[in-house]
């Protein structure tokens, strides 16, 4: 078992599985967020459910946070190993001749996403934890839409979010299909999977960016 944990292949499988788990979460996240544009009432209901359902709060949320931590800690471990494996670097290295930029710079797109998660957690998660558990406010199933729209009032925050979604797109562009290769799946469905990955990597971050820009441009007028 210890041999398996130390193995490069097992570590890549951990990256792939945690990555795919986060991809599934993204689908759920973007679906609920889209509701904030279409139906504020439904958005409030869904957000309240996610915020107060014990299964979501105490089982799914810790699993999600663990998934994020595993993905980026393993990413750092692999990156450090990879840097060490080269030893002395090349004077001239033409990486662009044989591999796309996105695949060679997953650590940088990942670091931007990690920094964004810091801001995102500060904006929503810490605020939510403080509201519920520190300030011990009573349940209010109608507050989420206004809180979300208000967050996107500052131009700087909207821009930071949109830039992060561009980097998320680049990360997904390589990472999604790549996770199947890491798990040993490379067959007649692979070209289709790669096409789907590119579609997914554009549509999901574009939807997130659209929601941020929409709320920035459509503030609640009192």
């Amino acid at each position: 078992m210890s041999g398996l944990i130390k193995s490069s292949i097992a570590r890549k499988v951990v990256m792939a599985l945690s990555g795919l788990f986060l991809v599934i979460f993204l689908v759920l996240h973007v679906t609920i967020n889209l509701a904030s544009v279409i139906s504020p009432e439904f958005f409030n209901e869904a957000s309240h459910f996610m915020g107060y359902n014990p299964l979501v709060q105490f089982i799914m949320q810790p699993i999600l946070i663990a998934g994020v931590i595993v993905h980026f800690v393993m990413g750092f471990v692999l990156e450090l190993q990879n840097k060490a494996a080269r030893g002395i670097g090349y004077v001239k290295y033409k990486g662009s001749a044989n591999a796309p930029w996105v695949s060679r710079n997953m650590i940088y797109s990942g670091l931007v996403i990690l920094a964004f998660l810091g801001l995102h957690f500060y904006d929503f998660w810490i605020h939510e934890m403080a509201y519920k558990y520190v300030e011990a406010n009573p349940e209010d199933p109608t507050r989420y839409y206004a809180e979300t729209v208000e967050k996107f009032a500052p131009f700087w925050r909207t821009i930071l979010y949109v830039v992060s979604f561009v980097l998320l797109s680049l990360h997904l562009w390589h990472g999604f299909a790549s996770s199947f290769q890491s798990m040993g799946v490379n067959n007649k469905y692979t070209p289709g999977m790669k096409s789907f990955t590119k579609l997914f990597a554009v549509i999901v971050p574009l939807a997130f960016a659209f929601i941020a820009i929409y709320h920035h441009l459509n503030p609640i007028t009192h």
Binding site: S8, R11, A84, K92, K94, G184, N186
Partner: protein
């Protein structure tokens, strides 16, 4: 053609190397790249200087001995060839060419452009073989029917010449393409299935012990491989490894 060369010179494994500039005035476009280096070395010897050490053997693209990083690409800018098959017609008069050894911690530089690739030998020795009864009455390999496309895939994997271009090209200095080709050539055939579980576990363990990096699926290895070994082999090795782990 006039060619400006920037070549990595390193006295021995313990010395610190550096790039040294050379100029060659009479390079013919039909020279092979290695012949161009031969001309340089003749000049250096005539001047009483130490010639540039580089690996070469068959000069026919089949032995996998030559190993140069040329302008940032293993085996130079052309596809599906080794350095010995690269010709000076791929360059222009007045070009500057940077020549470096394949870089990986697991491939220490022995001298100048020569690296120690015995790490590959040790991976091969860890499981890249089948145990065959050689008592005098072995079963003919052709007696076992094998589907054509499966035999082709095994043969494709077996064309790996172990040159190390995959490691040199990979941003992580990963040896996954080499190891996976050696695993695949046996894993695909019935004769190789007998020891398949131990083979993949032992070869991957040795690969990791040698200090090669991890695979990021960039595909650089596949592009730079002079034999066009496919990434499918890496996926196959991952499958073999995971099913071996399940088997215990």
């Amino acid at each position: 053609m006039k060619i400006y060369l920037k070549i990595w010179r390193q006295k021995d494994v313990d010395s610190k190397g550096k790039i040294v500039d050379y100029t060659l005035n009479n390079v013919e476009s039909d020279m092979s790249f290695l012949e161009m280096l031969d001309v340089l070395n003749e000049d250096l010897v005539a001047k009483g200087e130490e010639p540039v050490e580089f690996d070469h053997d068959c000069r026919e693209g089949i032995c996998g001995t030559c190993s140069l990083m040329i302008n940032g690409q293993p085996h130079g800018p052309d596809r599906l060839i080794t350095v010995c098959q690269l010709h000076m017609r791929s360059f222009n008069d007045g070009d500057t060419i940077v020549i470096e050894p394949f870089r990986a911690k697991a491939f220490p530089v022995i001298k100048d452009l020569i690296v120690d690739r015995t790490a590959f030998d040790r991976i091969q020795q860890a499981g890249g073989y089948i145990s065959v009864n050689t008592s005098g009455n072995p079963v003919d390999a052709n007696a076992i029917p094998i589907k054509k496309h499966v035999a082709d895939k095994a043969m494709d994997a077996a064309t790996c010449i172990g040159c190390g271009a995959c490691v040199a090209a990979c941003k992580n200095a990963s040896a996954m393409l080499f190891t996976s080709a050696k695993v695949s050539q046996f894993a695909l055939l019935p004769q190789g299935r007998v020891e398949a579980t131990e083979r993949v576990q032992n070869m991957v363990r040795q690969m990791d012990l040698e200090g090669f990096g991890n695979c990021t699926n960039t595909g650089a290895c596949e592009v730079e491989c002079p034999k066009g070994i496919s990434l499918e082999n890496i996926a196959r090795m991952n499958r073999e490894y995971l099913s071996a782990a399940v088997e215990g």
